[in-house]
Symmetry: C2
Subunit: 213 residues, 2 copies
């Protein structure tokens, strides 16, 4: 398999965690979204959404969207399962993962922050307020879901799931932006537990071949 990704992209990081948890080898191809490589004509042929990650499967299918990619990996390489088969356990994992994937990440990613600065001319302070606002809204929901349904060292029990694949990059991103997450102790506890695990360490931005300081 072949993964187009960027070391610091949260959605790329999600997929790298899933690959590492399943012990799957792949070729890493860095796409530098800071300098717009995702908008080149060559790359747009690969992904018309102009985003990372994209997985090229062993049978040469080109698949975009991190949530679809992780579902694909879970179907084709089901050990360990990251999306439980059992109905309500499954639903809780998907619910929490989608709070991050639909409500949090999309509004704070690079293309959005870039538009706000370029087209609306917002200041750095306004950008930080925007970023912090959606982090607070989202992690307030995640903290409540973990309080109600979470248990164990990971989001749900003692095995990592898709929820952890989404949570860790989102926390890392928020910490990088200097957000205070102390009001989300359960979110931080899961993050810190995951950071101790080899698969999560292997998937981290600073372990990638395209890492830049």
């Amino acid at each position: 398999m072949y993964l187009y990704n960027f070391f610091n992209s949260s959605t790329s990081y999600r997929v790298r965690i899933a690959l590492a948890l399943k012990g799957l080898d792949y070729q890493h191809h860095g796409i530098n979204i800071r300098i717009g490589e995702q908008s080149s004509m060559d790359y747009m042929r690969i992904n018309p959404s102009k985003g990372v990650p994209v997985l090229i499967t062993d049978d040469e299918q080109t698949l975009s969207q991190s949530m679809a990619i992780i579902d694909y990996l879970d179907k084709t390489h089901p050990i360990p399962r990251l999306i439980p088969a059992d109905n309500m356990d499954r639903s809780r994992v998907l619910e929490l993962a989608n709070v991050i994937a639909c409500d949090m990440h999309p509004v704070n990613n690079l293309r959005i922050l870039g538009y706000l600065k370029k087209e609306f001319g917002i200041s750095d302070e306004q950008k930080n307020d925007w970023y912090q606002h959606w982090i607070n809204e989202g992690f307030t929901a995640v903290e409540t879901l973990l309080t109600r349904h979470g248990h164990g060292s990971y989001c749900f029990g003692e095995q990592p799931t898709l929820a952890d694949c989404c949570l860790v990059p989102q926390v890392a991103n928020a910490l990088r932006f200097g957000c205070d997450l102390s009001t989300f102790p359960k979110v931080l506890a899961v993050y810190e537990h995951c950071q101790q695990q080899p698969a999560f360490q292997q998937a981290a931005p600073d372990q990638q071949p395209d890492y830049m300081n």
Copy 2:
């Protein structure tokens, strides 16, 4: 089952389409997100994300996030299946659905447009430019995915899937905002086909008990 939703919310509309396609009865509870009912203390106890839709299942589980809800319905009421079981068909459905659910809808929904107006003081023209920009970016990707992998009257074949549940509300929303979608003929063809089907008609905003002109 019991559905907290708003007639004009795209994510509510997705779930209503899924319920109608499966022929499932439910009680409709309108939450008026235009006047902030989703932020009341009572509703935040139901959904800490302060959003619609929320499904209360027959065994009284409270489940948020439209993508998790439709997956739940597909597992518990699998006829007709909206997310195929077969790997690559499944992945194509999830890929297209997530372009809409992760890249398009989150950046153009009411809470985002509200923040842009209130905090950044953008004009109506700037709001329309923002809206149209993300519609164009997203539907360019969807149109390409339909060209590569789509076939038949729906997004993928002659049976509706999760992809159609996501596409129809997003097109309806864009048309309501006055967007010109003529450069996306495949998107429009799927939309128009769906609009002829009773389940999609039944789920439409103007058929809901909380509909307001």
